[in-house]
Symmetry: C2
Subunit: 268 residues, 2 copies
Amino acid sequence: MTSHAFDQAIALKLQSDGSFAGHTSAAYANMVGPFGGISAAQMMNAVLLHPDRLGEPVSLTINFAAALAHGPFTVQARAARTNRSTQHWIIEVLQSGEAVLTGTAFTALRRETWSLDEEAMPQCPPPQETPHGQGPMPMEWVKRYDMRPIAGAMPTVWDGSGDASLTQLWVRDNPPRPLDFASLTALSDVFFPRVFVRRATLVPVGTVTMTVYFHADSAQLQASGSSYLLAQARAQAFRNGYFDHTAQLWNEAGVLLATTQQLVYYKN
Amino acid sequence: MTSHAFDQAIALKLQSDGSFAGHTSAAYANMVGPFGGISAAQMMNAVLLHPDRLGEPVSLTINFAAALAHGPFTVQARAARTNRSTQHWIIEVLQSGEAVLTGTAFTALRRETWSLDEEAMPQCPPPQETPHGQGPMPMEWVKRYDMRPIAGAMPTVWDGSGDASLTQLWVRDNPPRPLDFASLTALSDVFFPRVFVRRATLVPVGTVTMTVYFHADSAQLQASGSSYLLAQARAQAFRNGYFDHTAQLWNEAGVLLATTQQLVYYKN
């Protein structure tokens, strides 16, 4: 463990029954409860640290079943199926014996094959020429990221004037930290709720489920170092209490590292 | 249960221990094992039939952990968390006591809110003017669907000439059957592997995980009746053994019923 706030936040301790003990992080607090990305990273980390793990993360789905209370929690990660070169995980986070997060993960030994990025990185000014555009935010976790919005930043006027939900930003850990599967998991949840951007209206929201597909292996993540990622998200539908978004994260070299989608509850 | 092949295929019988007994369907057989969409629909059906279910499906993630053998299987669906108006499910399909499919689902009581489809249905000729374009296929499940490709059909010449992975098609059950959550789940897996379309090259493939977000409630599905759906899929990245796709399904009236993504293993 390094002294970086992220490493401290995702630290887990293996228990004698095979589960992991963790603790919510004040450094990654959101308005209510923790930043969802840090909870997802904690669950990913339980798989990464698990003595039975085979291969590297390829997909992860996390469901936010209840509000995580500030304090300790237990992560149970179970290899439901282990094949020759792939493995399927079922993950639960418990507080006071009750499930607060559920999830599944898929890990695999990857081999080099014909490869191609069909979704090209959009043309954007480089991060060094993109100013820090976010105003001051009350949420502690926002300070843990260096965010440089290009399009679709958090509205500063809430007048119902939004006309699209597309957001593009450069983002990396603050202070910088070399990219790995746990931090890429958290970065996949860095987007403000699409309904804020689309409507320029503040309504109660909460992510219900998030899926991340890791296109990069650990070598490609390592090659990204602590440089910025271009993160892009767009909603497809807002309907009767739930909206989705689909999102992509490229490194500065234009390699698509991860694609992700999530479903978010909203009121009104 | 009606006499429709789909209803027969997804039929489950509640056991005394709370699990469900099912059987693979010869009518929905794929090259090896069953059509993944029918397995997903069987898992969705276990939640739909569960006596403890609260609300309607909003999201579903299915992981294909191992090849399903032709024969009986057991579905275990467990409500990991029940809140006032939402519920989180963990689902496992077992054969000979081993997990072959894992998954999670989210159900909820939905309320009418401000709503908007951001992803508009693409301009396409109507289904009646779109010919059945698929050539004869050896897979039995393909006969259970009326597919009318508009763009990106299954290649007929395997010469490596592909240049995009976009597929658009009109599709419905064959014979027609009123749309519901189970059939929409299966229809979400109706796309041929993107790597076939992109490369015009046949390689071994298998879906690893699929997530479906249901934007429509049962009333909106019912309103779609047995009309065609416009189904669209596109890959974002092909990398070292795994590619993703992101997809949308609209009804003929242009309502976005579901968005879905999946990750698929490929060789070479």
